[in-house]
Amino acid sequence: MSTTDPIIEVQHLSKKYSLGKKREMYHTFSGVLVHSARSLSQRLIGRGTSQTREDFWALSDVNFTVQRGEVLGIIGRNGAGKSTLLKILSRITDPTGGQIIMRGRVASLLEVGTGFHPELSGRENIYLSGAVLGMRREEIDQKFQEIVAFAEVEKFLETPIKRYSSGMYMRLAFSVAAHLDPEILLIDEVLAVGDIAFQKKCLGKMENVAQGGRTVIFVSHQLEFLAQLCKRCLLVDKGKIVQDGPSREVISQYVKLVRSTDTMDLRTRKDRQGEGRVRLTQTWVEDMGGNRSNRIISGQDMKIIATYEVQEYYNCTNLAVSFAVLTVHGVVVVDLGTGTITPDFTENVPRRGKIECIIPRVPFNSGEFVYNALLRSARSGNEVEDWVKNAGSFTVEPGDYYRTGHIAGTASLLCIDHTWNILSA
């Protein structure tokens, strides 16, 4: 092994997921039993039946190399295959084809607080999480003081972390991870944590890591962050690498890509839950004039739209819909649902339909938002028919929410109407 060899070589990598097909025979209890018995007997011996499953290629023929000491960013839309790539690189899941050659010790950070247990104390969790992330006990012993100091949790070391504030939890979790010492570090969207001061501290730590000659791969939606840390980025779309080059160029290509595709096709999404008798097909965001665009201006009106279809065998007489709007960091900003201020749809539910949710005077201030789409049908006890997380996204730009003629301040998530008084007391 020479030191000039690339530290990571990814060759013709592909990953296939099998999607469960529609459940045609699930009308009757006996149908369920017959189906279960058949699939159980087939699957117990480790063979899925190929006819009853659909395939979805999350990655196909991905090739790239990473040099020692390089800091690489990976960007792409939700569902483009970034996380799958990271999961294969970190050996959580096997590829379907191709191979990766790794020439160094790998650690991955796919979540903040991997291995943390809420009942255990801060001290205990440092050891547990450290071991889970691949540290030896002596290594943790050595770095213990440093980890505690970095997280600023000295006083709470013996407190169960279920009593920690979310900020303290994040700091401790990140601190353990930041003290990993691998040659290759894989990081997924985990920096979106904690308070701004701590984020900066983490960024500083990360930069040290990168300059320390370590190879780092970041997956992130925080474009500024990537531009700052990585010289080179990969743009992944529909399971393929569509661009590989200097960060600035790749990021601007990504922004173009995001703008050009305002309609999200949900039919190919595999990460969905529910009975599936009614299925979401597409979703997008539009203005009141019917122009599809996922760039919204604060204070103007918008519509979130989803189309669906009802399976042939299912007589759908009732539909409840909700769109939960979240920040890209996963904080639920608002959950808009039928049944709260209007009744669910109970009459004339079309077999194929389009649901509109109109939000007058958008109160989001600025930033990236995503939404989860949920369909329920109340016929047999309010069952979830289809639930797709991160179904769509939109960007809100600051606008004149308060109708003052000025753009509202940008440092907050929301604008809300309010009035002020001063009284003598």
């Binding site: 050996r91 959580i92 899941t93 590829p95 084809g97 050659i101 790794m102 889970v132 540290m135």
Partner: protein, 271 residues
């Protein structure tokens, strides 16, 4: 360090001892976590490890010993049944807890790589600790009933080994199956209940007709429990039964490891 090559794995894989050894600290910390978490916010803590076999002993002594008058090879029934309950409690707890263990650590499985075998194995570690605690009661009973010490006690480590691999073999199979089929969560308590009756816990092997013993010994716990009792109480070993059970244990363990390693590749995708 050798290059690591990640590619689709096919067929059966042998145990990677080097890797397991490299992750030994994780095994320790996961077992330690399970111990800590199990007795958090309980009033009597580790005493629960004693109460389960102890209460079983009392109930069984009343119903099977005193009322049903099940023979106990001439020994006092309480110590007879307790000597059987020690390995049985270990075994039933391991298969019950290991079965659910992988699913319960879903967050670890989907977020970080390590040899997955460590999760069910850490369960066996915890149960071994409980076994030791429950063993203290046995020592007290031995003093009370004035059971003499014999050289047969030296067989205990070997029997512990077979007990652990039998339980772990089945635990591995169940934990892998539970990932795809949560049904096993519901089947398991029932199966364990039935399993008790085909294991010589409440009755001695000697009441089983000779012709049926090889069949009984196919249950690995039959030979192990019987031998355990012989070792503790100084009665003669039933070697044919023990040997069949030991062979079955080894087969179950190897089969369990192979099956688990075959299925673990898909854990992150289907859990």
């Amino acid at each position: 360090m050798a290059d690591l090559i990640i590619k689709p794995r096919k067929g059966l894989a042998a145990l990677n001892f080097g890797e397991l050894y490299a992750y030994r600290d994780l095994l320790y910390f996961l077992a330690w976590r399970n111990v800590k978490v199990r007795y958090k916010q309980t009033a009597i803590g580790a005493a629960w490890a004693v109460i389960q076999p102890f209460m079983n002993m009392i109930v069984f002594s009343i119903f099977f010993g005193a009322l049903a008058k099940i023979p106990s090879d001439g020994l006092p029934y309480p110590i007879f049944v307790y000597a059987g309950l020690l390995p049985w409690t270990f075994f039933s707890n391991v298969i019950r807890m290991a079965g659910n263990s992988v699913v319960e650590d879903e967050k670890l499985i989907t977020k970080v790589y390590f040899p997955r075998l460590i999760i069910p194995s850490s369960v066996a570690g915890v149960e071994l600790l409980d076994f030791c605690i429950a063993f203290i009661i046995y020592v007290l009973m031995m003093l009370y009933y004035q059971i003499p010490l014999t050289v047969q006690l030296l067989a205990i480590p070997l029997l512990l080994f077979f007990m652990v691999i039998a339980a772990l073999g089945i635990g591995l199979i169940l934990s892998a199956l539970t990932v795809t089929y949560r049904d096993f969560r519901y089947v398991l308590p029932f199966v364990i209940q039935l399993w008790l009756y085909v294991s010589p816990v409440i009755y001695p092997v000697s009441i089983v007709p000779e012709a049926w013993r090889p069949l009984l010994a196919l249950n690995p716990m039959a030979g192990i429990i019987d031998a355990f009792r012989s070792a503790l109480l100084g009665s003669p070993f039933d070697f044919p039964t023990l040997i069949i059970s030991a062979i079955v244990s080894v087969i179950l363990f190897i089969g369990g490891v192979l099956y688990f390693q075959r299925l673990e590749r898909t854990f992150a995708d289907i859990i």
